[in-house]
């Protein structure tokens, strides 16, 4: 099992910033944030959901690598762990990569995808969600897969999916839309993000 980190990509966890050859590049999440409107959602609840998502992703990563010490797992995450393992048992999904940092030099973006592995006789890149599955997940997974293919981390023939984990259930969402079209849409969003970065002030971008 490889926790891949390309030598010319640097990630600053404090600032949650990716640097490619010394140049900061937007993350997949930052690019897609402009397409989502979370302004009407309670900010405290949003922050709690974000923290919970981070913990669940970490839990999945440690479990994939066989390093999860369940005794240290907070009780509120045990249901999520049960559902994650139930997903593995029921679908026989076999992870090959977890929390893998990738970047795309052509378009200039980076990100960390959650999982890639096999599901039966298919290679699948999976994004794990602990809350709602947004419509942008198709663009998100296309961006990750595009970067993974470019970096030789995963094949272009791979399928994409989202896995929603709840405390008492899980749901697997195969993404049926075209990889090429979704990647094209992501690149368009990336260009829009770059334009906004160039032409709008911070206040304007957040408005």
């Amino acid at each position: 099992m490889l926790k891949a980190a390309d030598p010319i990509l640097r990630f600053d966890p404090e600032a949650h910033a990716y640097y490619l050859g010394g140049r900061r590049v937007p993350s997949v999440t930052q690019v897609l944030a402009q397409l989502e409107d979370w302004s009407k959602v309670d900010q405290v609840a949003l922050e709690l959901a974000r923290v919970r998502g981070q913990h669940i992703h970490r839990m999945v990563e440690l479990d994939v690598h066989g390093n999860l010490d369940e005794d240290t797992l907070a009780p509120e995450y045990r249901g999520y762990l049960r559902q994650w393992r139930r997903f593995l048992a029921e679908t026989r999904f076999k992870p090959l990569l977890a929390e893998c940092q990738v970047f795309d030099e052509r378009y200039g973006y980076a990100g960390t995808f959650d999982l890639a592995g096999t599901l039966g006789t298919r290679f699948v890149l999976v994004d794990v969600k602990s809350g709602l599955v947004p419509r942008t997940v198709a663009l998100q997974t296309a961006a990750y897969l595009g970067a993974a293919v470019q970096r030789g981390k995963f094949p272009a023939s791979a399928e994409r999916a989202a896995l929603r984990l709840h405390e008492d259930t899980y749901r697997f969402f195969p993404i049926e839309s075209s990889f090429a079209l979704d990647l094209g849409d992501f690149v368009a969003a990336l260009r829009l993000h770059a334009w906004r970065e160039r032409n709008l002030t911070t206040g304007e971008r957040n408005a």
């Binding site: 490889l2 891949a4 090959l96 096999t118 006789t121 298919r122 290679f123 030789g152 094949p155 023939s157």
Partner: protein
């Protein structure tokens, strides 16, 4: 209160016979009045008993004198009609037997057709089950091959990820595609036999105007002992058995009550007989 009997028209000319009910009533009252509690009363009762027996014989003789000609007339009429009725009965019986025989034949043919269809269906089921078993075996074989290729593809992909070897990744994709392409060869299933259920349907009995033909369930005892054992303790079946008490009494008499028969008690009952008076 003595019972009043209507005198039939046939007895209007027989005055003595008309007196019979009254006489009988008298002797009944005599018998009812007796309480035998000493030897004299016992002797007197015996005397009355002989009178009663004599009276009964007399009345019976009167009855026979009147009914004998009637019985004779009836016998002649019966004899007259017996032959034509017997012939008609024979005719009816012949036709009924023929019709029932025809129906039995039809039912037998239907049963044979049903048995044949069921045998064919059973044979087809066996063949289909064998084909299904063969298909399952092939599926298992294909699954094993898919699993093998899938594991190989996963190992190749892991290696490609670890080394960044594009050729290894292409090889992993090819291996995985080969795994996905593994299919069990279909087993040729036996041809469907034409509508075996339809052949098993019993045809309706043939119809003749004014005549109904139907079947009824009947029973025949094949093993009487087994039947008696089966009936024991089952009131609804015990009710079917009828004890021939006349023959049972004969058995009691023949064995002088010494036989040991479960469920039966043997006992003695005094029987009084009286001779009728002569010359009356």
């Amino acid at each position: 209160m003595p019972e009043t009997l209507d005198i039939p028209a046939e007895l209007r000319e027989h005055a003595q016979a008309q007196a019979a009910p009254e006489q009988a009533q008298h002797w009944l009252q005599v018998a009812q009045s007796y309480q035998i509690d000493d030897d004299d009363m016992f002797a007197a009762a015996g005397d009355e008993l002989r009178n009663i027996v004599t009276m009964a014989r007399d009345i019976e003789a009167q009855r026979k004198a009147i009914t004998a000609p009637m019985d004779e007339a009836k016998r002649r009429v019966m004899d007259f009609f017996r032959v034509p009725l017997e012939r008609l009965g024979q005719a009816e019986s012949l036709l009924k037997q023929s019709m029932a025989g025809y129906q039995r034949l039809q039912l037998q043919r239907a049963a044979e057709a049903r048995a044949k269809a069921e045998a064919a269906a059973a044979e087809q089921r066996r063949a289909q089950e064998a084909a299904a078993a063969e298909q399952r075996a092939r599926e298992a074989e294909a699954q094993a091959e898919r699993d093998r290729l899938q594991a190989e593809a996963e190992a190749q992909m892991q290696k490609a990820i670890d080394t960044g070897d594009a050729q290894a990744m292409a090889q992993a994709e090819q291996t995985m595609a080969a795994a996905a392409a593994v299919q069990a060869a279909p087993v040729e299933h036996p041809a469907q036999i034409e509508a075996p259920v339809a052949a098993a349907v019993v045809p309706l009995p043939p119809r003749a105007a004014g005549v109904s033909v139907r079947t009824v369930w009947k029973a025949r005892v094949l093993d009487k002992s087994a039947f008696i054992r089966a009936a024991a303790g089952r009131p609804e079946i015990e009710a079917i058995l009828e004890v021939d008490e006349g023959r049972l009494n004969q058995f009691a008499k023949a064995t002088a009550g010494k036989a040991n028969l479960a469920g039966v008690t043997f006992y003695e009952e005094p029987v009084v007989s009286a001779r009728r008076r002569t010359g009356s």
